[in-house]
Symmetry: C2
Subunit: 210 residues, 2 copies
């Protein structure tokens, strides 16, 4: 298809498509003549991914580039590729880096308790978990980190379900697209469902309480 058709189909402007090609985020179309190129379904898929990451994830272009680079290193396993993508997607979180040895140990304990044996001992997400635990303890919301136990099987089931949706029979690019979209969009989906469930459960418990 022509670039104008590609723009119509994906909702990404021609100028932005050309920008993504220049930045190496989108492969160039197959040249038909000096001024005409032909684009196919892979371009459509990639553009839809870039659009979602821009609109929903507010992912900066530098991070998009890191995602594409991770896809192109064919010596890496799909798992390593996913890891690099997650690092690139890590938005600067608002949680202050306030962890200490105690909360870092609690974070490791939670990962152990969940049975997530494959999480690297130095995964940055462990530090982030420790920061969040510090906020929870400091806020007085809970003095009992054991409370996490209730979440673990539920979160495990959600993550396992999401990874099961990624079809290992597909090419690396497609697997990457599915993983990244899942990470960003299904995270929003999950929090939205949770707010709806909060409204329901709040009504069940507190509709009479003044």
């Amino acid at each position: 298809m022509r670039i104008s058709e590609l723009a119509d189909l994906t909702g990404v402007s021609v100028a932005t498509i050309k920008y993504y090609v220049r930045e190496g985020l989108l492969s160039p179309g197959r040249k038909l003549s000096e001024r005409l190129a032909d684009y196919d379904d892979r371009h459509v898929r990639r553009l839809r991914l870039l659009r979602v990451l821009r609109d929903v994830g507010a992912v900066p272009v530098g991070a998009l580039k890191a995602l594409v680079d991770a896809t192109q290193d064919r010596s890496a396993t799909v798992h390593d590729m996913f890891g690099k993508a997650c690092d690139a997607l890590r938005v600067e979180t608002a949680v202050p880096a306030s962890r200490d040895d105690h909360t870092r140990a609690l974070a490791d304990q939670i990962v152990d308790q969940a049975g997530w044996t494959k999480v690297r001992p130095d995964a940055p997400e462990r530090d982030h978990l420790a920061d969040i635990i510090k906020v929870i303890l400091d806020s007085g919301l809970s003095t009992d980190p054991e409370g996490a136990a209730a979440y673990l099987p539920l979160v495990d089931a959600i993550a396992a379900y999401e990874l099961d949706q990624i079809d290992a029979g597909q090419d690396r690019e497609t697997m990457m697209e599915q993983m990244v979209l899942g990470q960003v969009v299904l995270g929003e989906f999950l929090l939205c469902l949770r707010r709806l469930a909060h409204e329901h459960h709040s009504a069940l418990r507190f509709a009479e309480r003044r």
Copy 2:
């Protein structure tokens, strides 16, 4: 306690404490003399809440004011108070308002399927869910909104657990503080656990796949 002790205990500066009092976010201390006031545990709790909302939730002062106002309308039920707090906490989401009749109907269908009968028919969160469904469908991530079925019992269990942590025997202010902290901090906690679980499940499935 003196204001300087309050500042030390909560990590909120004296200047910010005075600002919160001026803005009506914190009740004034009990006057001991023209220049001295006495603060108690309620001030500590409220300041810790305000600090978390500022640091983690990046909640603007206007929204904090709406939260406090919701606490003070004593004719409202706790459920109504929680609803107002949720409205105030709704951050401007990056998901574009792209819903249509079809996705709005799918959103209602998901809420029905979950059994969340107490969610208001005109709850803004239903529209937001429709926007997210539109992004999912447009991105090609899934053509099957039935996929949501797998999430519903898990999210329902998480939300029910969270609401069960709120002790109905406490005063309104404390219940509000617990609800707001849960909404903001446990949402971060949940997403963090999910990323850890993703790393584990990705390793189980794709550590060999190139």
